[in-house]
Symmetry: C2
Subunit: 387 residues, 2 copies
């Protein structure tokens, strides 16, 4: 089940509402990544508190660990990980692609050795649909081949990109047929490929539109290409997709990338950046980014971002009046130096809160018809740099 | 400032109330250990929620990182780590003792090389008091020498234990003098030593009582001695201490050890066991302990302990009705196998909740005058074993 209502537009930017089997998602939205059935270092309770509406799971990882038998016993990934709101799973295509020389791609699918125990495995469009049906995610992604930007330093040619895109299209059709055969009640998204070639992207988008899937993603970006190449595709492809269906830009990106994506008509985003960067002490703020490992924070009593309302920056007050949280840069610097878990825990909450709050601001700006002005102000704030 | 009211006794067990500069502590109580200014893997907010009334900090570790200049800038450890309730700091004696051959003990104090950067350092009773005064902990521990149980496989002789105990006594007097000179407004505790020799313990306790300190600890246990040796000292020493002053058993122990300690008249406990064991997948429950790494948990949908009300076992419901938490053994097993941070986070919350809830039950039993009966039931439950 998927129902998408376009509430308002401003230029190409869209304010929408997505109804899925496990609830409603207000778009544009950022989806925190929960690879192994957990958004790394963050309690589900805190995800709810910071306004996460939908999270990701990774088909490839969950297939290997804990395996489908375990998840089937919980009626799906929601029950297993204790998440009640919507969920999207990728198809596993990107992960097998990332195995590099350890996998072999054919028309049938991808053969590879399990990085966990060495088992010889075959992932196909059909198997991916079968796994995602057990996971029971609200949004299921077609199995695709992620077209590389370059291989061993050589750029992918148009011919190679066309063959790869055509393979993903055939896999889209097989995904759709298997999804239907399985009686999956969720929503299957197609994925536009075509590398850095706009004509191929256009062909891919047009062919996928004919399949009349409930939503579409732009894949094959954020795969090592220069930023301006990625921005060129983001400026091109979203608006070639059916206007009344949700659009998802996969694996992108920085806060600026998200704002740019919204401006180009994207509705859904995911990226490991907020959580992965948090674990490396890279913190996002309204006024630019901050490396908490830097010695200049050693004695700084200020929070990461005084304008931020997250548990790390602003803290919270319990029912009994006990104030908790509102931590200084000095304290976070100390936690990082000592390798204390609380460091990445607080940093992950902060970064995810920043991303989710960014999308909330974007939705409010779109609701008020002032996204263009908001965007100028946001980019200027971000460029200012942290005090 | 310290005021201790003995509210009720049952045999040697005591129900008390401790008033400290940062608040009131109901005893008997367990104090979670926050070595580097953080209870590993637990948000301060969750410590409050599970009823932590007082936590520990380690003088030795905090002296090295972040260092006193940083903490002084926050007016003490409370401000630095964002903890508003009472706090106890140890003296650093146990940690320098743990350095083994890397330190040299003399009448003056202990010389050692910093394990962080190799700096040559000297920790004395005076320096320990100076550090703890900067930390501004509610309970300050005297600088002591922890008498070893054995050295290179040879048991400590009575003569050695006497010399060590006498040194700790002289250091107690120097600690008291320096504490007064510094005008520290908190409460200094003395530490009974004497190894496994009851006569020495008795001498130590009597001499410390003459110093009229506001509270006393039993040190030099849980240093590698057999369990029955530890229990013998715990059955001996607490009741030799002034009845109207709080008694603290340092670094002990299992849930059964805590119950035994209370029965012998101990009021305060600390131990790294709940958090350290949590990070190794060792979980405490009402009905015995559970190793979450064991393959038998792989598909088990039950919580760690169905009778437990912690965030990991029972979850919580947000203001908007969203249910969160209440995780299965299968999910915790999966998190452990994948090395996901959420595993130790949930396990730490569970184990600390177990310890704090245990002490809450003990206080309630003492209030109701039925501690003896509660103790029999608790030990029988624990011995039953986990389903």
């Amino acid at each position: 089940m998927l129902q998408f209502d376009l509430l308002r537009t401003e230029g190409a930017a869209r304010r929408g509402r997505l109804r899925l089997n496990h609830g409603v998602v207000e778009t544009p939205i950022f989806m925190p990544v929960g690879t192994y059935g957990t958004v790394k270092g963050v309690m589900p309770r805190d995800l709810h508190a910071m306004g996460a509406q939908i999270i990701l799971g990774n088909t490839f990882h969950l297939w290997l660990r804990p395996g489908l038998e375990v998840i089937r016993g919980f009626g799906g990934l929601h029950g297993f990980e204790g998440w009640t709101k919507p969920m999207l799973t990728d198809s596993g295509g990107f992960q097998v692609w990332s195995l590099g020389k350890m996998r072999k791609i054919s028309e049938e699918g991808v053969r590879f050795a399990s990085p966990v125990n060495g088992d010889r495995l075959l992932l196909t469009p059909e198997v991916s649909m079968q796994i995602q049906t057990v996971l029971d995610s609200d949004i299921v992604m077609q199995f695709d081949e992620c077209t590389p930007y370059e291989t061993d330093g050589v750029l992918t040619t148009e011919k190679q990109a066309r063959a790869s895109m055509a393979l993903s299209l055939r896999w889209a059709k097989r995904s759709q047929a298997e999804f239907a055969r399985l009686g999956n009640r969720n929503a299957l998204f197609g994925i536009v490929q075509g590398g850095m070639y706009e004509n191929l992207r256009e062909e891919s988008a047009a062919a996928l539109a004919e399949l009349d899937l409930p939503g579409y993603a732009i894949g094959g970006v954020s795969v090592g290409e220069p930023k301006d190449e990625m921005r060129r595709i983001v400026a091109h492809t979203p608006q070639r997709l059916p206007a009344h269906k949700p659009r998802y830009l996969m694996g992108v990106g920085t806060p600026e990338d998200l704002v740019e994506g919204v401006a180009q008509g994207v509705d859904l985003f995911d990226c490991v950046m907020p959580t992965r960067n948090a674990r490396n002490g890279h913190l996002f703020t309204r006024f630019g980014d901050l490396k908490i490992r830097n010695a200049r924070h050693k004695t700084d009593p200020r929070p990461i971002d005084p304008s931020c309302r997250c548990q790390a920056c602003a803290g919270s007050t319990a029912a009994d009046g006990t104030v908790s949280g509102g931590f200084s840069r000095a304290y976070l610097h100390h936690l990082d130096r000592c390798g204390e878990m609380l460091g990445p825990m607080l940093a992950s909450i902060h970064n995810l809160h920043f991303y989710l709050n960014l999308m909330r601001e974007i939705r409010e700006a779109l609701d008020a018809g002032r996204f263009a002005a908001w965007r100028v102000g946001f980019l200027a704030d971000r460029a200012r740099g942290v005090d």
